[in-house]
């Protein structure tokens, strides 16, 4: 897998993402500056976390207008893999590549803690390598991570299997206490209808090595690699 890790002014998780793909998984990876207009021969794109443009106006609102995003949209239209993490998720929703929006956390506090994620849909390039029944313990760090979508949109993404991860407690129940930010239906991550673009607020790249205390997040990136070698049939 050749992975392009985007960099915007204010991105701060780009190095972690590249490290996981390149050094932990041994894949090819490189940075792509937001002003570039081409993704080269990348098989996958990661839009990393951070505070692009200082979260000015809205998180991800200005980054979505960067020159590279035209190439990302074309890449996604062709079926290329795009993963947005935290601010990357915000950028992808702002760009219209993912449904819904991210708003201020319910309790108005910046949350910095570990969460448990239940994988809801395993038939995507981002979840196919996550063992069934295995929850991921992944850190979150955000102030605007509350996922919102209107009722019709929620019904739509539920019916099309677009909800990829939910916040759950240690018993696997998606209750209010396990929801760090007030997201509707405890949604932590979603994908588009086709299944090739995904986003999540938690940081799997910070839970991909045992030395950091958690490694269950690596399965997200392993899924992408697996898809590149043995593609899952995407939705039309």
């Amino acid at each position: 897998m050749k992975c392009a890790v985007l960099q915007f002014p204010g991105s701060n998780c780009d190095q972690d993402c590249l490290h996981v793909v390149k050094n932990v998984l041994g894949q090819s990876a490189g940075y792509v500056w937001h002003k570039q207009t081409s993704l080269g021969d990348a098989d996958a794109v990661i839009v990393p976390g951070g505070f692009s443009y200082g979260d000015y106006l809205r998180s991800g609102a200005i980054a979505k207008c960067s020159p590279i995003m035209s190439a990302v949209k074309e890449f996604a239209d062709r079926g290329g893999l795009v993963l947005g993490i935290c601010n990357g998720f915000q950028i992808l929703t702002e760009a219209g590549l993912l449904p819904g929006a991210l708003v201020r956390n319910r309790d108005l506090k910046f949350v910095c803690e570990h969460v448990l994620l239940q994988t809801v849909s395993r038939g995507t390039p981002f979840t196919c390598a996550i063992p069934e029944g295995q929850w991921m313990r992944v850190p979150v760090a955000h102030g605007d991570g509350c996922y919102y979508i209107d009722p019709a949109g929620l019904a739509d993404i539920e019916s099309h299997g677009q909800i990829l991860w939910r916040y759950v407690n240690s018993s696997g129940v998606a209750d209010e206490a396990s929801n760090p930010n007030g997201s509707i239906a405890n949604i932590a991550g979603v994908c588009n209808k086709r299944g090739n673009v995904a986003g999540l607020m938690p940081h799997p790249e910070r839970a991909s090595e045992c030395i950091l205390g958690e490694s269950s997040g690596l399965a997200v990136f392993q899924s992408m690699v697996q898809h590149c070698h043995a593609p899952i049939l995407l939705n039309p």
Binding site: L57, R58, A61, C65, T93, E94, G100, A101, V103, R104, N105, R106, D107, L108, C146, Y148, I149, D150, G182
Partner: protein, 128 residues
């Protein structure tokens, strides 16, 4: 600067000169008469667009709720809701056709200045 009946002056708010105090829409109070602003702003002789952005009613507004709780803590009653939004003022350099300007600005609002999934907006063009 306005003072509430309690005698406390918690937040600087400018009154709309032609409207009563609207507890529900504090951001509208930013549409003040320039001559009474007292803000020391430089005189501007072009067109201005004033855009008020508020969260959609269906979206939970924790900031608005917190502000409401704090106002009630200070003893203010009769507040149905508070919505915290944004105010943008766009100074336009060219005296173009008003209709064309409005079309462009509405497009900018829908594509960039607001997120239509979670925000509503109002747009007003002011001639100086």
């Amino acid at each position: 600067m306005a003072r509430f009946r309690s005698g406390i002056d918690p937040i600087p708010i400018r009154f709309v000169e032609k409207s009563e105090l609207l507890w529900k829409y504090p951001t509208i109070q930013l549409c003040f008469h320039p001559a009474r602003s007292g803000s020391g702003q430089a005189t501007y002789h072009g067109m201005k667009a004033r855009i008020i952005i508020t969260p959609k009613k269906a979206v939970f507004d924790p900031q608005g709720k917190t502000v409401q709780n704090t106002l009630e803590h200070f003893g203010h009653t009769g507040i149905e809701a508070v919505h915290v939004g944004k105010f943008l003022e766009v100074e336009l350099t060219d005296r173009e056709d008003l209709e064309a300007v409005e079309v462009r600005l509405h497009d900018a609002c829908r594509r960039f200045l607001t997120n239509p999934v979670i925000e509503d907006y109002t747009l007003e063009i002011i001639h100086s």
